[in-house]
């Protein structure tokens, strides 16, 4: 390791570009959030509004519902992907397996497919009257499945689509984590006569904790910001059943050109995201108080 000042020199170009496209917008939106600004209004200039935008925001039930819906969606998605991913990772860990590399490659596919194409594909699968999913559900199980009228079906489909899209990532990262685990504690626990559940909870989970938290962190942040797929699948409907927060901001701010209010919406969303990510980050770096 060499002295630090030259090191910064190498970081400068990257930092500079991220400053312009990442940090300046943040400062700017912070500023705009305190103003009443609508370019299509009678007075298209910025007028100081103080906290009025935020005052309106905390009473805006559409916005708050959308935020809550996003959190519910993220919760369902992250928990089920984690459980599913863990079970699959354990089941797929057989040491010698014919075609292992091939299967892994196929499994990686959803991660690199464009979200917008994922949405289009699932729309082709699920759209009433055309897709095979409603057709065969009706034919085999007699279920009237309709994502454009039934809110629960739409919400459920959004979750399943996300499972298809991201469970492989969770599986692969947990597999990587499990492979890297030291063998001795596991063997020791088996010798000591622990049952499977005990071994899982007291040996595997603590050792796997950094991996689990990292995966949760990445999945949670992604789930909170998913827009493209949902937009293609349901356009946020029926009514507002799948209008998650990113989509809400996107389809509200630009047609209405109510920029001050849009800034407040964006900032509150960012606030929620940052608080959640900070909590997870603290958990990840494992800064426990007390004994230390």
């Amino acid at each position: 390791m060499r002295q630090s000042n030259i090191g910064w020199l190498f970081l400068t170009p990257a930092t500079l570009i991220l400053f312009v496209v990442g940090f300046i917008p943040f400062i700017y939106i912070l500023y705009v959030g305190f103003f009443d600004w609508n370019t299509n209004a009678v007075d298209p200039t910025l007028r100081w509004a103080g906290l009025q935008n935020y005052r309106n925001l905390v009473f805006d039930t559409t916005f708050l519902n959308s935020l809550a819906r996003t959190l519910v969606f993220a919760f369902f998605v992250v928990v089920s992907e984690l459980l599913l991913g863990y079970v699959l990772a354990r089941a797929l860990m057989a040491d010698r397996l014919w075609g292992r590399q091939f299967f892994r490659t196929i499994h990686t596919l959803p991660i690199v497919v464009a979200p917008i194409a994922v949405g289009a594909t699932w729309r082709l699968l699920c759209v009433p009257g055309f897709g095979i999913v409603p057709y065969y559900l009706k034919l085999w199980f007699g279920i009237d499945y309709n994502i454009s009228t039934n809110a629960y079906h739409a919400f459920g489909t959004a979750i399943i689509m996300d499972l298809w899209h991201w469970t492989p990532f969770v599986t692969l990262s947990l597999m990587a984590g499990l492979t890297a685990l030291p063998k001795e504690p596991l063997e020791q626990a088996q010798i000591d006569g622990g049952n499977k559940l005990q071994i899982f909870w007291y040996v595997i989970v603590p050792m796997l904790k950094p991996v689990l938290l990292t995966t949760v962190f990445i999945r949670l942040m992604d789930a909170l910001r998913s827009v493209d797929e949902i937009w293609m699948l349901t356009k946020g409907g029926p009514a507002e059943a799948t209008r998650f927060i990113g989509l809400h901001i996107w389809i509200n701010v630009f047609p209405k050109t109510d920029y001050g209010y849009g800034a407040a919406m964006s900032l509150l969303t960012l606030y929620v995201t940052i608080v959640l990510s900070w909590l997870l980050f603290v958990a990840m770096t494992g800064r426990k108080g007390g004994a230390q």
Partner: protein, 67 residues
């Protein structure tokens, strides 16, 4: 991510985690914003908003000093 060791001076205060100066400032700001939002939603009809500001600033000083 597990390999990152925090380098700044940290200490145990009344907060449940070890914190450095940045963390305490951050926690204060988060609480300040949260209280203001909730205040505007539920309490502003009864008490003006500056009460929240004063309370939060007092709490911030306490957290930054003792947290």
């Amino acid at each position: 991510m597990a390999g990152i060791q925090p380098q700044k001076p940290e200490r145990d205060g009344f907060l449940p985690i070890r914190t450095n100066g940045f963390d305490r400032g951050f926690i204060s700001a988060v609480i300040l914003i949260l209280v203001h939002l909730l205040w505007m939603r539920f309490l502003e009809g009864v008490l003006p908003l500056w009460v929240a500001t004063v309370l939060c600033l007092a709490l911030s000083v306490f957290i930054i000093r003792k947290g």
